[in-house]
């Protein structure tokens, strides 16, 4: 089983990352009833024996002692990271996995990339090496950051550069949050453009995400809850946006709902690598099949369904509806309209109780509506039918 390391840079990156770890723990808790440290857990967590202090040896099998996330938290101001360390996830992060400074980057890409990059280079490299050494077989680095700010975009892309130099064989998946139309950072266009150049050259795969789309999805869900259409058929705690029991309680932090969506995306992307299924797909396969030319590595992602049904047997109509939704603009995490332009390649990752025949039927349905491009269009599907403890939770995303 391969391991992945998550590098969260900047305020946005750390907040999204925090939600990711929270959801990952919940997912594993739902599946792993016996508390045994298994292969699925080892892809994102280390099992550390903390009885001999915080720097215990790793335990590779047996019961879970103390889980530590394979992550690196980088931020040039202390507020966000401190908040994480005081929250419920404080034990998941090793104190050695943090790099912080006091003054921040001032929304300036140059400060993040050149100034802090230079200053913290050795530190970052050393901590990355340490994390990589704890991995048996490191397959992928996930970088989470925003493009509009200073640290996330500047220092984040510097780390990307570093990863390419130090670990050329390891895949680099970047989740970038692009600034939306009403962004409050004035220099965000400059920061984004400078960062994009780096992404073009050094990333293996980029998942761009727009705040606007996330907002729309959150609003859609709230609308659905408030209109009462969902009623009792929807499990409130399985909304893509919620992480706690009742979705109706006001979220304390305004971006939590949106960050949950991104965290869900990342979890589902890696699910086939962690759990077994009848047709597995690893991250290197995603990169292989969706990147026809080296510089065209930007993937439009979308998630369905936005809520899960309490009724476990998903009838075919709903399943077909899910597939259609996956290709619709409302469910995409970025404002784009590939249906009216061109699909170069498309992958469907399906989790839950879906069979080959359903997938084939839906692919034939959707291929009738889209036009034929010059490149022979291929649609790829992979899935793993894991039965999750809280009832079948089908979630599909075409990427």
């Amino acid at each position: 089983m391969t391991q992945s390391v998550v590098v969260q840079v900047g305020q946005c990156g750390n907040q999204v990352g925090c939600r990711f770890w929270d959801l990952a723990l919940r997912e594993h808790a739902a599946v792993n009833k016996k508390g045994i440290y298994d292969e699925a857990l080892s892809s994102f967590f280390r099992n550390v024996d903390t009885r001999s202090g915080a720097v215990g040896p790793d335990i590779y099998k047996g019961k879970i002692c103390s889980l530590k996330a394979r992550a690196l938290l980088i931020d040039m101001e202390e507020g966000v990271v401190n908040e994480i360390l005081q929250g419920p996830l404080r034990d998941v992060f090793d104190s050695k996995q943090l790099i912080t400074d006091v003054s921040g980057s001032g929304n300036n890409w140059a400060v993040g990339h050149k100034l802090y990059g230079y200053q913290y280079r050795e530190d970052i490299v050393e901590k990355l090496r340490k994390t990589a050494e704890h991995c048996d077989c490191l397959q992928c680095f996930f970088i989470i950051h925003s493009m509009g700010g200073g640290t996330g975009s500047g220092l984040g892309t510097f780390v990307l550069n570093l990863l390419e130099d130090e670990f050329p064989e390891v895949y680099r998946f970047v989740t970038s949050v692009y600034p939306s139309g009403e962004d409050d950072v004035i220099t965000s266009p400059y920061n984004s453009v400078l960062a994009m150049k780096e992404l073009n050259e050094h990333a293996d795969c980029v998942l761009p995400i727009e705040n606007e789309s996330l907002c729309d999805i959150v609003n859609k869900i709230n609308q659905m809850i408030n209109s009462g259409k969902l009623g009792s058929t929807v499990k409130q705690n399985s909304l893509v946006t919620s992480s706690t029991a009742n979705a109706k309680t006001l979220q304390e932090k305004p971006f939590d709902a949106m960050n949950n969506i991104v965290a869900n995306l990342l979890l589902n992307l890696t699910s086939s690598a962690r759990f077994e299924g009848s047709l597995n797909m690893d991250l290197n396969e995603i990169s292989m099949n969706l990147v026809p030319f080296p510089r065209l590595h930007y993937l439009v992602s979308s998630l369905t369904p936005l809520y899960t049904l309490a009724d476990v047997n998903v009838p075919s109509r709903r399943l077909d509806q899910m597939f259609s939704d996956a290709f619709s603009r409302d469910h995409q995490l970025i404002q784009a309209d590939p249906k009216h332009s061109l699909y170069l390649a498309c992958a469907l990752l399906v989790r839950g109780n879906v069979q080959v025949s359903d997938l084939r039927r839906n692919i034939e349905r959707s291929s009738e509506t889209t036009s034929d491009p010059d490149i022979s269009r291929g649609i790829q599907f992979i899935w793993d039918p894991i039965q999750r403890a809280q009832g079948c939770a089908p979630a599909s995303e075409p990427v």
Partner: protein, 450 residues
């Protein structure tokens, strides 16, 4: 004689598990109307072919499991162990951590050479365990990275290490709607490389099996498990012991050899297709009766009209009249010209069956007489709950259209150089692609002008 099975990649391992389960089930199943002595020799032959026995009496499959990631192999091993009637040997599997990423070049140029020693070591051990080695059966898919790329490399190594053994590659043709975007590239590369080292390629198409599951077996939600079970049933009906063509009461000693000798008279024509009749859901079996003339008539028409299963056969297609052949490519004509056919009959009254319809010279090419082109194997023992069943392994134009379509799609993709950088990264250059295209075009044109 024993056959060593090499299961490669996720598909190969999943199918392999179903195949062994099917064989074992048949082994312990009822023996129809054959005598118990005959049944005993059948069981012995089957056991010797595919399994070896431990001191404690348990059956261990003669198989080597290879995959580049651990999930599937561990699942396969545990499923086999749980079933109880047979299992895999503890030391016959090889896996890595990272997988091949659906990249043929990765499987062939990187994983192949790197792990050649370890894999060939396992194969050697299995081969040495056999009293008499009858040959190798490799199970793989064409669309992925390990099965296809590493599979092609392993076949080459097998050919180098065992130059006089028979190698039969069982290849799974991916769904036309696509499972993997680069499946056409992977398929083209695999087929062209296998053509050089393998003795014969036995093909199963996912599309065809899916249709069989949907229409004949009435399965509503078809999973890969169902597909694999149908494949296993069809393979079992070919590889279970039979009496050889010349008659005699002993079971055939050299199944792979006989199959390859009979069906592949010329190295240019190696692609074999498999058709099996009848296929029906279990609950219908009690209400059905079969007659040999009926089964054979259907099978013959399936052969001529290139049908995939016993429903939906085009009965209008007839054999052409003898004499000089009319102009036009035979791929346009619906009639399927065969080079050689092998008919395997299992069930009661099998020795009195009239096989004249299959010996009709109009079915075959002009350069091979029906006596040489047609073979029949029989056994009175019923297979897998079907009182009478027939399987047809055919070297004919069955796979011409699918092959043509895959090469066409791959060529389209190649024309825009899409995904090539992923292969170049691991050492497969554009020249290798062009070579593969040339080889397959040659094969297609040979089959077309039959």
């Amino acid at each position: 004689m024993s056959i060593v099975t090499v299961q490669l990649g996720q598909c190969g391992n999943q199918v392999g598990h179903e195949v062994f389960s099917c064989l074992c089930r048949d082994l312990h199943g009822p023996h129809g109307l054959s005598s118990s002595r005959d049944s005993q020799s059948y069981r012995d032959a089957c056991r010797e072919r595919f399994f070896w026995e431990q001191q404690s009496g348990g059956l261990v499959a003669r198989a080597v499991l290879v995959d580049m990631e651990p999930k599937v192999i561990s699942q396969t091993l545990s499923m086999a162990a749980r079933a109880g009637s047979w299992r895999y040997s503890h030391h016959s599997h090889f896996c890595q951590k990272q997988g091949s990423g659906n990249n043929w070049a990765n499987g062939y140029s990187v994983h192949g050479p790197r792990h050649k020693e370890a894999i060939m070591d396992l194969v050697q051990r299995e081969a040495e365990r056999c009293d008499r080695l009858g040959g190798f059966l490799t199970l793989m898919s064409m669309a992925g990275g390990t099965g296809s790329g590493l599979g092609a490399f392993v076949t080459q190594c097998l050919r180098d290490a065992f130059p006089s053994s028979f190698i039969l590659n069982h290849v799974i043709w991916p769904y036309g709607t696509g499972e993997v975007i680069v499946q056409n590239y992977n398929s083209v590369l695999t087929l062209s490389h296998l053509y050089k080292s393998s003795d014969a390629l036995l093909v199963h198409e996912n599309d065809v099996i899916h249709k069989i599951c949907a229409q004949l077996l009435n399965i509503k939600q078809i999973s890969f498990r169902d597909v694999n079970q149908v494949i296993a049933h069809q393979l079992g009906s070919v590889f279970q012991p039979t009496h050889p063509a010349e008659g005699g009461s002993d079971y055939s000693r050299n199944p792979l050899g006989d199959l390859v000798e009979g069906l592949v008279p010329h190295p240019e024509f190696k692609v074999l297709a498999l058709r099996n009749i009848p296929q029906m859901p279990e609950n219908c079996l009690a209400f059905s009766t079969f007659s040999w003339p009926g089964l054979l008539k259907h099978l013959r028409q399936m052969l001529i009209a290139r049908a995939h299963m016993e429903e939906g056969i085009d009965w209008q297609v007839r054999a052409p009249p003898p004499g000089p052949s009319s102009c036009g490519h035979s791929s346009d004509k619906p009639f399927n010209t065969s080079i050689a056919n092998l008919l395997i009959l299992r069930g009661k009254d099998v020795h009195s069956v009239a096989l004249g319809s299959f010996q009709d010279p109009s079915l075959y090419t002009s350069w091979l007489s029906p006596q040489d082109a047609f073979h029949a194997w029989k056994t009175p023992r019923a297979f897998n709950k079907y009182e009478k069943s027939a399987a047809l392994v055919s070297n004919s134009q069955f796979l011409l259209k699918p092959l043509d379509s895959i090469v066409g799609k791959a060529w389209n993709m190649f024309a825009s150089k899409a995904y090539i950088h992923q292969y170049t990264k691991f050492g497969i250059e554009e020249e290798d692609f062009l070579d593969s295209f040339t080889t397959l075009e040659q094969v297609i044109s040979s089959y077309t002008t039959l």
